[in-house]
C-alpha cells in the first residue's frame, strides 16, 4: 500500500503539472504596457513554485516508498545535516526566493502604481453600481462636473447625478455604457463607487482594482492592442455580481475621436 501511495503521489503531481507546461488554460492575451512584466513575474514564480511542488511531492513519495514497512531489524538513521540542515535549506531556498521574488515583484508593482501619470493622458471616470459600470468622459472642457447623489435617477439615465442645468462643467460630460480608449495612449481611470464595493478587472489589461465607496481613487495604464475586451466585477456586490460587466473598446486615435463625437451627440 505504501508503494502504491508513493506512485499515486508522483502521478498526481505529474498530471497536475501537465496543463501548466502545455499552457492549456491561460488568461486572455496581454494588451497592456505593464502586462509583460506581470506575465513574466507569473512565469518566473511558476517555475520556482513548480520545482518546489514537484520536488516536495517526489521526496515525500520517495520517503514513503523507501521507509514504509521497515521493521526493527533496520536501524533508524539520522538525516545528514539533521534539523539544522533542514533549517538552512529552508532559509536558502525560500529565503533566496523570497528576496528575489519580493524585490522583483516590488519593482513590477511600482511600475503599475508608482509610475507618474504621463502628460496628455486621457481621463475617464468609471462608476460602479449594482450591477453595472458606467463611464464618463469630461468633454472639451476637460473637467468632470460634480456628482449630486440626490439627482441620481437610473430611469432617466442620469446615472452619475449630474446637474447639467446648474453645473457648466457637467454640460459637456459624456456618459456611456461602454468604455472606449485610444490605443497607445495613457489612460487615467478615475474610479467612483456609487453604492457598494465593486472591482474593475480587465484580464487582458492585467488590471484589477477595487472601488472604495467614499474614496475616489485613480489608476493609469496604456493599452497597446486594438480590440474589444471584457470588464468584469470581482468584488462581491450582490445577486447580480456574476453578470456585472461592460466592454472596453481599444481603438485607433481617429476611431476614438469619432466615437466620442457620436456619443456626445447622444447625450
Amino acid at each position: 500500500m505504501a508503494k502504491l501511495l508513493a506512485v499515486t503521489i508522483v502521478i498526481i503531481a505529474a498530471l497536475s503539472a501537465v496543463p501548466i507546461l502545455r499552457h492549456t488554460w491561460e488568461p486572455p492575451p496581454d494588451i497592456s504596457r505593464e502586462g509583460p512584466a506581470i506575465d513574466h513575474q507569473i512565469d518566473e514564480t511558476m517555475k520556482e513554485a513548480g520545482i518546489c511542488f514537484l520536488a516536495g511531492q517526489v521526496v515525500l513519495a520517495l520517503m514513503i516508498w523507501a521507509y514504509a514497512g521497515r521493521g526493527r531489524e533496520h536501524k533508524i538513521g539520522k538525516l545528514p545535516g539533521g534539523a539544522l540542515g533542514m533549517v538552512i535549506l529552508a532559509f536558502l531556498i525560500v529565503g533566496t526566493e523570497v528576496i528575489i521574488l519580493g524585490a522583483v515583484s516590488s519593482k513590477v508593482w511600482a511600475q503599475v502604481y508608482f509610475a507618474p501619470l504621463k502628460p496628455g493622458a486621457v481621463a475617464v471616470q468609471v462608476q460602479a453600481q449594482q450591477f453595472a459600470f458606467y463611464f464618463r468622459y469630461p468633454g472639451p472642457d476637460g473637467v468632470f462636473g460634480p456628482i449630486h447623489p440626490d439627482l441620481i435617477n437610473d430611469a432617466t439615465e442620469n446615472f452619475f447625478g449630474l446637474d447639467t442645468d446648474r453645473d457648466p462643467a457637467s454640460r459637456d460630460d459624456i456618459v456611456t455604457a461602454e468604455m472606449a480608449i485610444p490605443v497607445n495612449r495613457e489612460i487615467q481611470l478615475m474610479m467612483h463607487a456609487r453604492d457598494l464595493s465593486h472591482s474593475f478587472y480587465v484580464p487582458a489589461l492585467r488590471i484589477q482594482q477595487d472601488f472604495v465607496p467614499g474614496l475616489d481613487l485613480s489608476i493609469h495604464f496604456t493599452a497597446n492592442k486594438i480590440g474589444r475586451y471584457e470588464i468584469v466585477c470581482t468584488q462581491l456586490c450582490g445577486l447580480g455580481h456574476y453578470n456585472m460587466k461592460a466592454y472596453l473598446d481599444v481603438m485607433s486615435e481617429s476611431d476614438y475621436n469619432d466615437w466620442l463625437k457620436k456619443e456626445a451627440a447622444l447625450q
Binding site: 500500500m1 501511495l5 499515486t8 503521489i9 497536475s16 501548466i20 492549456t24 488554460w25 491561460e26 488568461p27 513575474q41 514564480t45 511558476m46 516536495g56 515525500l60 514513503i64 521507509y67 514504509a68 521493521g71 526493527r72 533496520h74 536501524k75 533508524i76 539520522k78 538525516l79 539533521g82 534539523a83 533542514m86 533549517v87 529552508a90 532559509f91 525560500v94 526566493e97 523570497v98 519580493g102 515583484s105 508593482w109 503599475v112 502604481y113 449594482q130 447623489p149 441620481i152 457598494l196 472591482s199 478587472y201 484580464p203 492585467r206 484589477q208 477595487d210 472604495v212 465607496p213 467614499g214 474614496l215 471584457e230 470581482t234 450582490g238 445577486l239 456574476y242 453578470n243 460587466k245
Partner: protein
Amino acid sequence: MHDLRAHATQHHGPPQSFIRKYIFSTDHKVIGKQYYGLGLVAVFVGMGLSWIMRLHLGWTDLRIPGLAWLSPNGAPGGVLTPEYYLQLMTMHATFMVFFVLTVAPFAAFGNFFLPIQVGAEDMPFPHINMMSFWVTFVAFCILVSSFFFSDGPALSGWTAYAPLSAVGAVAGPGQGVGQVLWALSIAVFCVGQLLGSLNFIPTTLDMRAKGLSLSRMPLTVWAWFITSCMGLTAFAVLMPACILLIMDHVVGTSFFIPSNLVVSGQIQPHSGGSTLLWQHLFWFFGHPEVYIAIVPAMGIVSHVLVTFMRRPLLSYKVVIGSMLSLAFLSYMVYGHHMFVSGMNPISSLVFSFPTLIITIPSTILVLIWLGSLYRSRLRITTASLFALGFISMFITGGVSGFFLAQPPIDIMVHATYFVVGHFHFVMAVAAIFGIFSGTYFWFPKMFGRMMSERLGKLHFWLTFVGVYCIFMPFHYLGLAGNVRRYQAFVDDYTMNLIPIHRFATVAALFTGAVQLIFLYNLVHSRFWGEKAPDNPWESTSLEWSTTSPPPYDNFGGRHPIVYHDPYQYGVQSATGSDYIMQDSPEEEQPEAAETNR
C-alpha cells in the same frame, strides 16, 4: 504560581444524572466529544451546501430535487436563484471555517486530550469550559436560524465586506435580518472560543503533571497552546467588529458606511464610516484564524507521524519554534488579502514581505517532516496515511501561496478560483486531513473501540484522489482569470472553462459521497467496533498510559509522574519494545537510534 490542580480535584466529583453526564457536563472529555459532534454536523451541512453550489455551477439551469421544498423562494422549481447561490455560499464558508476548522482540531481534540496529555484530571475552570461549548452551540443555532427568517441568510460571503454587509436589506436579499443574525452568530462564537482559550492556557501552564516541563510536552499540547493564544487576540478583534456591524444595521451608526452612498436608488442615511476599516478588522482576525485552523492540525500530524515512524522528529524545538513563528508572523501578513483593496499601494508592499517570509517556517516544518521520514520505520495505518496526505496537501497549498504573496501577481489572481484552490488545499483539505488523522488515531482512546482499518484506508484513498481532482483544476481556472463567487459564468473569456467546472462538480459529489464511508465507520465502530486496548498504537504520551476510554478523572486516582520527553521511540525498553512511555520510570536506552532534540 497558584496551584490550580488542587482546585480542579476538590470541586469536580463524578456526575450522577444523565443531564450532568452527557448534556451539561463539566468533564473536558464530554465537552471534547460534544465539540466533535458539532463539527461533524457542521461539516456535513457545509458539504451538502457545497454539493448544491457545485451542481449549479456546472449546470446553471439544473433542477435540484428537494430544493424547491426546502426553499421555495430560493430555488423555485428546484433551480437556484442567483441570490440563493450566494446565500448558500456564505453559509458554506461560515460553517466550514468557524464550526468545522476552528472547532474540530482545536476545541474538540484539544478539550479531550490536552488535560490528559499534561497529566491533569481536567481543565482548571470546568464550568467555563462547559459554557464555551454551549455558547458555541448557541452561535451555531443562530447561524442555522438565519435560513428560516425573512429573506434568508446573508449573501455577502464569510468575509462580509462592508458596505454590502452594513447597509441592510436595501442591498439585497438576506442583507437585513440574515446579515444581523450572521454577525450575531459570529460574535457569540468568538465568546465561546475566548472562553475555551481561558481554559487551554492555564491548563498548559499550571496543570502539568510532576516532571512534565514545557520541553517535555507533546507537540499537540504546544499546538493547542499556541492556537489558544492566537485565539485570544484574533477573536477579541472579530467580536467587536461584528458588534459594530450589528450597530450599523440596528442602531444607525456608520462605522463602515461613508456618506452619500446611493443603494437601490436611495441615499443611505449614514456618513463618516470607512469600508476599508471592516477589511482591516476582519483580516486582522482572518489571517491568524487560518493558522488557528492549521496549527492544531500540524500538531496532530507531527504527533501521529512520530508514533508511526517509530522515531522522534529531527528536532522537537525547531518544530515548536516554527509553529511559534507562524503564529507571530500571522499578525503581520493580513494585508495580503487587501493588496488591490484600495489601501495605499505602499502598504501592499509592506504586507507582501512578511507574507513571503512566513513561507520559511512553513517550509521548515515540511522539511522536518520529510527529513524525519528518512530511515524511519514507517507503519502504514489510516491515521498515518492521512498524516502523510496532509504533507502532500500542505505542499500543494503552500506553493500556490508564492503567487498570492506577490502584489503584482495578485492583480491577476485576486478574487479568482486560484485563491479558492489555494485555501481549499491548505484549509479544507490539509486541515481536514489533520482532523481525520486525529480521529483514526484517537478514536480507540475516546470510545474504547477500534475503527475499521479496511474502511479507513478506503476512505483515505478515495478522498486523497478525489480532493486533488476537485481543487487542483481551480488553480488553472484562476490563472485563466475565472472570477470566484459567481453563480454562473457568462463572460466570453470563461466559456471554455465550464467543462472544468463540471469535472470538479463530479469529483466533489464523488468525494462527498465517500465521506459517508467515514461516517458509517465512525458510527458502526462506536457501538460494534473491536474493543480497543489501552495503547493500540504503542504510543508514548500520557493519554496512552490510561484506559480506553479514560475513567472520569483520567487516570483512575493515579497522578502520573513524567520521566521522559514525549517521543522516546527507537529505544530499547526493558519490556523489549521500541518505545518508552512518558511516565515510565525506566531509563532511556537508545537502540541504534539517535534521538534528536
